[in-house]
C-alpha cells in the first residue's frame, strides 16, 4: 500500500486577514501560513493505513513559505519520503494547483503509480474542494470526497471508504485502486510529534525538490475585487448588569417563541 499525501499551506486566521495593495488578493506578508487542517487529517489517515496495511507514505507540497517545517514534521510522524515541488510561482488557484500537480506527479522518479492519493476535501481557501477531484480527473482516477475513514483489506484491490452526508448519515463505498480521496477527518485526531523528533528529522532526513511541470493553462477565472466584511450596525448590543442582560435575553427569546 503506497500512499501519496498532498499538503498545502493556507493563511493562519489566528491573525486578522488584510487585503493586499492590489485589492484582489490577501496580503500574504501579514499572515503566517499553516498547514491546511484537512490535509493534516489526510496525513493522519495515511499513517493509520500504513500502520494497519504496511507500505509507505510520501508527502508532497508545492513550495511555499514555512512548508519545510511541515514536511519535516510529517517525516517525524512516520512518513517515508517528502517531496517539494519548486518553481511553481506564487499564489496558484486551486484549479491551477491541480493542473500543476497532474503535470508534475508522473515525472517524479519512483513515485507513481501509488495506490491512494489522500488530501483534504476542502481548505479555507478552497471551500469548493476543487483540488482533489480536478487532480483525479486529470489523472483518470476515481474520486471520493468528504471521507471520514479508509480501509484496505489485505490483498484487496479496492478500498472501503466511509463518506459523510448531512444529518449524520454515512455511506460506505468500495473504490477501485488507485484512487484519489478527499479527507474530511481522519479516524483519529492528528497525532502529536515531540519537537525533539522533528529536530532529529531536520538533521537526518532530506526533502527532495522536484521541478514543477510546465504550465500552459489559461485561467478562465480571475478575482475582480476582495474586500473585508463591512459592519452594518444591525446588531443590538445588550448592556447592563448580568441580571438585566439575562432578563432582556429571555424577553427577546420568548417574544420570538423560542422559549
Amino acid at each position: 500500500m503506497n500512499i501519496l499525501v498532498l499538503l498545502k499551506m493556507v493563511p493562519d486566521i489566528v491573525e486578522e486577514l488584510e487585503i493586499g495593495s492590489d485589492g484582489t488578493s490577501l496580503d500574504l506578508d501579514a499572515v503566517r501560513p499553516i498547514v491546511s487542517e484537512r490535509d493534516d487529517h489526510a496525513l493522519e489517515q495515511a499513517l493509520l493505513l500504513k500502520e494497519r496495511c504496511g507500505g509507505s507514505v510520501t508527502v508532497l507540497a508545492i513550495e511555499s513559505r514555512d512548508v519545510d517545517e511541515v514536511l519535516f514534521t510529517a517525516l517525524a510522524k512516520g512518513c517515508d519520503r517528502a517531496l517539494k515541488v519548486s518553481g511553481a510561482g506564487a499564489a496558484l488557484t486551486s484549479a491551477k494547483a491541480a493542473a500543476l500537480l497532474a503535470r508534475t506527479l508522473p515525472g517524479i522518479p519512483n513515485l507513481m503509480p501509488v495506490d491512494l492519493v489522500l488530501t483534504g476535501c476542502q481548505a479555507i481557501d478552497d471551500l469548493d474542494g476543487v483540488v482533489a477531484p480536478s487532480l483525479a480527473e486529470r489523472l483518470h482516477l476515481p474520486y471520493l470526497g468528504i471521507v471520514t475513514a479508509v480501509d484496505v483489506p489485505a490483498g484487496a484491490l479496492k478500498a472501503t471508504v466511509l463518506k459523510e452526508f448531512a444529518a449524520g448519515v454515512r455511506g460506505q463505498y468500495g473504490v477501485c485502486l488507485p484512487a484519489v480521496l478527499g479527507v474530511q477527518a481522519a479516524e483519529k485526531p492528528p497525532r502529536y510529534v515531540p519537537v525533539a523528533k522533528v529536530r532529529a528529522a531536520m538533521k537526518a532526513r532530506t526533502i527532495e525538490e522536484v521541478p514543477a511541470g510546465a504550465m500552459d493553462e489559461a485561467s478562465l477565472l480571475s478575482v475582480a475585487a476582495m474586500t473585508k466584511p463591512e459592519a452594518v450596525g444591525r446588531a443590538e448590543m445588550l448592556e447592563g448588569d448580568p441580571e438585566a442582560v439575562a432578563a432582556k435575553v429571555v424577553e427577546i427569546l420568548s417574544a420570538r417563541g423560542l422559549v
Partner: protein, 406 residues
Amino acid sequence: MASTMPVLAGDTPTLTLDNLLESPRGRDLQSCIQCGICAGTCPYGDAMDFPPRRIIGMLRAGMIEEVLTSDSLLHCVTCYACMAKCPRGLRLTEVLLPLVKEQVFARLPAVPAELQKALTNTLRYGNPMGESARKRAAWAASAAPPVRVLAADPRPVDVLWFVECYTAYHPRGQDNCRATAKVFQALGVDFAILGSEEKCAGECARLAGETGLFETLADYNLKTFGKYSFDRIVTSGAHAYDAFRHEYPALGLERPVEHTTPFFAGRLEQLKPLLTRKLGYTVTYHDSCALGRHNGMYEEPRNLLKAIPGVKLVEMVHNRINAICCGGGGGGMWLDTFFKAKGLERLADRRVKEAVATGADVLAVSCPYEVSRFEDSVKVLGYEKQMVVRDVVELLAEAMEGSGTP
C-alpha cells in the same frame, strides 16, 4: 517570520535515563531508603500505578520498560512535595521525574487532547491558548500607566518584566497585569516588556515531558533577551521564575531573576505608605508550588498581605510546605479532562474547599495559573457568593487606590 524550530541548542541532553545512574545526581537515587514519604505526600500518589518510591525501586531493579509504558507520571503535577519531604534529600521533581516523564511522554500511544492542543499552540503561537502572538500585549492598551514595549523603544531598562502567557491573555490575568504596572510605577521602577516578542518560558512543557519544546522556547527567549539591555528580569509567572532561576542559567541566562511577589515584598518599606486604602478582607494565601516548596518563598507574599490595611490573614490546614497543589503544574493545566475521565478529584477543588473552610472571603494567589483554576472551582463548587480569587499584586494595587498615585 522566523521558523519556530531552529535546529540549535539542546540536541545533546546531558542527562538521560540511560546515563542517569552514572551521574552524581543519579547515584543519589541509590541512597533511596524506600520509605514511601514521596508516594504518601503526592497529591495523586494513590492514583498512580507506580508512585515515585516504586519508580525508584523499579529503576534500580532494571524494570524501566514497565515504568515508561505506564501513564503514572502523567499524574505528576510537579508540585515538589515529594522532593521537599524526601528524608534523603533526593532531587525527585528536579531530576528523576522529568527524565522519566520525557520517556513516558515519547511513548504515549496518544497525547491527551487538551495537552496536545496546548503544546501545539505553544510551539506555534508562543502561548498554550492558541491566541494571536501579536496580541500578547493587547492588555497594555487599557493599562495606566502606559507600558513601554522594548521593540518600539529599545533604550536600556532596569526591569525586563516577563509577563507570561496566562497573565498576558487570560482576562483575569490581565487584571494582574494592570495591577502590576500600577505598582511598578508607584515604586518608581524603570520597567518595560517584550510585548509580542515574548513567548512562553516553557517550564510546564518541560515538566510535561516535552523537553524539545522547552529547548526551542528557551532558545528563542534567550535570543530575544540578547537584543536588549536590561539589569534584571521580573516575571509574573511562578513557573517562568522557576525556569529562569533553575534552567535558563545553564543555557546562558546571566541576569538576576525575580518573581513579582517577592520583588514587591523586598520593597515593602517603600510600599507601606502607599497602601492607604482599608480593604476589610479576610484573606487566606495559597502557596504556589514553584514559589513555595521549590524556592522557599513562603513569607514574602504573606508579608505583603499583612501590610495591607484591613486584611486579616488566616491559614488553611495545609500551608507552606504542606500546601496542596492547584493541579496546574507539569502539564496538569491541560489534563483536567484526563483526570476527570479517571474519576479523580480536581486538585483545585480540593484546595478551594480548604480555603472556604477557613472562613476567608478572599483566596490570594501568586501564580497566574491559579486564578483561572481556583475561580473555576469556586464556581463549580458553588462558593461564588462566599469567595473571590485575587492575585496578591491585585490586592496591593487595590489598597493603593485613592492613595494619590495614579
